[in-house]
């Protein structure tokens, strides 16, 4: 899955780094480091991180099929 963080929006709340620590990490107190090509097994964690971002700075490709298409069964 591809993802991008809008670093103009990012305020360093670090909610994503709590929820998906293998995709997002804090470098020092405020700067965010992330893997723009998150592996498939991170889908659920990534979805949590996207939803939890207080300023909605994270956009991820290919998360929506878990919610809109085909209900939940194919999400995991």
């Amino acid at each position: 899955m591809r993802l991008v963080v809008d670093l103009n929006k990012c305020q360093g709340y670090a909610q994503c780094a709590f929820l998906a620590p293998d995709v997002f990490a804090m470098h020092g107190e405020e700067s965010l480091v992330y893997n723009p090509h998150a592996p498939e097994e991170q889908r659920e964690r990534l979805a949590r991180a996207v939803a939890a971002c207080p300023v909605q700075a994270i956009t991820a490709d290919g998360l929506d099929d878990s919610r809109d298409g085909g209900e939940a069964s194919d999400a995991r």
Partner: protein, 408 residues
């Protein structure tokens, strides 16, 4: 005088079950000031701006100087003020040290690694309901859950959890204005605070000598650029996490179940897709936030808002729950809709005091609601609205009686 009674209506218990019509009326005067009362701010964008404004102080001393109001609350712990009641730079120092024991960058997996344990606690509580067809969700589930979680997080040994819980219950009960009036319950709460303080003090000393993989050990042994916390600072931080993380989580879970039972089609979707709990919790934090009002801010200089000058030293109430339903910000704000594209709520506040425990509260509530949806067969409300607690700030039901056909 069209607004003479607005403050009274906010605190009036008669409006507790549904305060939202009052909030709607409030937003028509987004900066409201009655007589010598606080300045009441109710639009989303104004609240958001003030939460980030360094001219707005959280310091308890500034609040005392401004005089008490109906919603003032002292921490009443006999400990030094915790970071929620401090301004920078002291706030920053204490919060940074606390964070280094709790989250990234120093402890990025502390919360994530509790996921399995949280699931076990929830399963244990539901299994423990026994052979019954009706429960009070508050007393039997939502209340015990966060205390157990905070014990595990701090590092309270399992065998001490019952003792710990026995101290916490009267302390938390004493926070509600309802029970605060009785001298006997105040005495019990006072004694419990003392016992809890002594117990934690012993645990802190022990962890200072023999650190383990828990938050108390990290707090008391922190060696970062900010130095270590004093024992008193560790104690007030631990008590803050306990108190601030308790009622709020209870209310988020209870408001959540109440809202789902009022929207059975969404409850049904959650039953089939536990992943939906993520969006449900975010939307709950907008639609029924457990902290309705931030009443403990004062401005340290004159500030101008919508053409009104709020004089230095004034008390300010930020009406989070009113901002969360501001039509200027949200489409169809009175609708509970976990599918909305843009859930950017004020439920956890914003700015330097934004909820410290948010990642934990999210996880606890996501797991709790998903499991309750999965295991309660055909659940329904016994009474709607349920009875509420007195508190207008930390608003939530005192009991939530739910009937169901079976436990799965």
């Amino acid at each position: 005088m069209p607004h003479a009674s607005m403050l009274r209506q906010i605190t009036d218990f008669a409006n507790r079950a549904n305060p939202y019509p009052i909030y709607e009326e409030l937003r028509r005067t987004p900066v409201l000031h009655e007589e010598d009362g606080p300045y009441v701010i109710s639009s989303y964008y104004d609240i958001e701006a003030l939460l980030h404004d360094p001219r707005i102080s959280s310091d308890a001393a500034n609040q005392t100087a401004a005089g008490d109001d109906e919603l003032s609350q002292s921490e009443g712990t006999g400990l030094p003020p915790s970071f929620i009641r401090l301004d920078p730079p002291e706030h920053d120092r204490l919060r940074r040290i606390a964070n280094s024991s709790f989250g990234p960058p120093h402890r990025p997996r502390r919360i994530e690694s509790m996921r399995g344990e949280l699931g076990e606690i929830v399963t244990g509580l539901i299994d423990g309901l026994g052979d019954t067809r009706q429960i009070d969700l508050v007393d039997q589930f939502a209340y015990p859950f966060p205390v157990t979680v905070i014990c595990r997080l701090l590092g309270v040994p399992r065998e001490d959890e019952p003792r710990f819980r026995a101290w916490v219950d009267p302390i938390v009960a004493g926070l509600d204005p309802d029970t605060r009036t009785s001298a006997e319950s105040e005495r019990v709460a006072q004694e419990a605070r003392l016992q809890l303080g002594l117990y934690l003090n012993g645990l802190v000393e022990q962890r200072a000598r023999e650190p383990r993989d828990d938050m108390l050990s990290d707090l008391v042994n922190s060696r970062g650029p900010d130095g270590a916390m004093t024992t008193m600072e560790v104690l007030s931080t631990a008590v803050l996490l306990l108190i601030a993380g308790h009622e709020t989580t209870v209310n988020l879970i209870t408001n959540g179940m109440l809202t789902l039972l009022r929207h059975p089609e969404i409850l049904e979707r959650l039953r089939n897709d536990p992943g939906l709990s993520v969006r449900i919790v975010e939307e709950l934090l907008r639609y029924e936030p457990p902290v309705q009002i931030v009443p403990q801010r004062t401005c340290i200089t004159d500030i101008e808002l919508r053409g009104i000058t709020i004089p230095k030293g004034s008390r300010i109430w930020l009406m989070l729950a009113a901002g969360n339903r501001d039509p200027e910000r949200f489409k169809d704000p009175e609708r509970f809709d976990p599918d909305r594209e843009d859930i950017q709520h004020l439920g956890f506040g914003s700015g330097i005091h934004s909820c410290f425990g948010a990642p934990l509260a999210r996880l606890e509530t996501q797991i709790a609601l998903a499991e309750l949806a999965r295991r309660l067969e055909n659940p329904r409300l016994v009474e709607d609205p349920p009875p509420y607690r007195q508190n207008a700030v930390l608003r939530g039901p005192r009991h939530l009686n739910i009937a169901f056909d079976n436990l799965r």
